[in-house]
Symmetry: C2
Amino acid sequence: MNTAILLYDKFTTLDAIGPYEVLSRLRGSTVTFVAERRGPVTADTGMLSMIAEASISELPHPDLVLVPGGPGQGGQMADGPVHEWLRAADATSTWTASVCTGSLILAAAGLLAGRRATSHWLALQPLADYGVQAVSERVVIDGKYITAAGVSAGIDLALWLAGQIGGEERAKVIQLSMEYDPQPPFDSGHMSKASAKTKAVATALMARDIAKPAQLKAGTQLLWNSALAAARGKVARR
Amino acid sequence: MNTAILLYDKFTTLDAIGPYEVLSRLRGSTVTFVAERRGPVTADTGMLSMIAEASISELPHPDLVLVPGGPGQGGQMADGPVHEWLRAADATSTWTASVCTGSLILAAAGLLAGRRATSHWLALQPLADYGVQAVSERVVIDGKYITAAGVSAGIDLALWLAGQIGGEERAKVIQLSMEYDPQPPFDSGHMSKASAKTKAVATALMARDIAKPAQLKAGTQLLWNSALAAARGKVARR
């Protein structure tokens, strides 16, 4: 079982690490962090670098390909080597997966058209704009295509996948080994639960992060539009 | 607000990344990954390296010091530069925190004696052996000392801290930005919920990982004893 997790400049780390922490605990599982080029890749905060152990060309046919999201997603929307790799990997993969705005990259590579999929709440409209049946669910399964909502949802996605790959009993062992018995101190993790103020501040914050001029490529422009829609309450619940 | 997260050989990545992902989203917050020496540090699986951006000597007085756990914890139990750094950092810190078996390192450095604290379920007895009031709770607060249960519990710890540092409203914004609305597909994340079989397999698995001969230092020997006790059901609930 070979898993490739794609890294790129300004990825969100927990999007990648949540699934890694689960999937690496499967028997006979190897998780490889890949990027266009080997070497350090800097996360969205600029405070952290992880090392891509292989280039995408070195791992053309993983069993599971997983794309995390993050503000840098906007830089991964144009066709090119990453999209070519994603399409080739998907052609032979057992599972193709994403966390957060990683689904926009899969969609831009042409892999999600007509399928049910999800993304960060701020990115559901842009996802729909790619011809995807975008839904606000924690983990969406459409055949071999598995997409998760924002950032932390990758843990839930990976546990479900672990159950499929290694069996439910093994997945439960992994859950216990990680003591994944979440007890958030607040109940503000979903647009249906957060206050109007919290939603407005989160939307403004993320839209600001996303809409830096240097990143105003196609994908981020869509996100910016979505942020405005979210601020107006239009994509609060789908 | 300067946070230092300690890295060391064979740390568990989610222990460090969960809190980082939350705390880095606080206004005016800087999170620095530190290690005895700058440069790449390899995680417990051997599948991932993160870069320590600073040596511990370069960041002597963080506002928040956080120690993750992992199988490599056993190599961090002896007195030396890391313990000296922890004691000096703790002398001026606003918060001293740990995730998972990171609390064993804090205890070995002499910082938790007599305090209430927690750890991974497999490590509660070794923690108690250091004169700590070890309790099985998700997040334990004793003055400025904040400890979390295993691996994924660091997210809950950091959200609580974010509320203390940046205010509850800001913490809720962070929770929504991360879409931290967990929906585990199984309910096996705590010793009180897992089946007898799941507990036995998880205990055997982790004890095996922990008890590699090269790591049989004081801390891991204690963990091994604890694993045997857990397998016999003696530390299933405290």
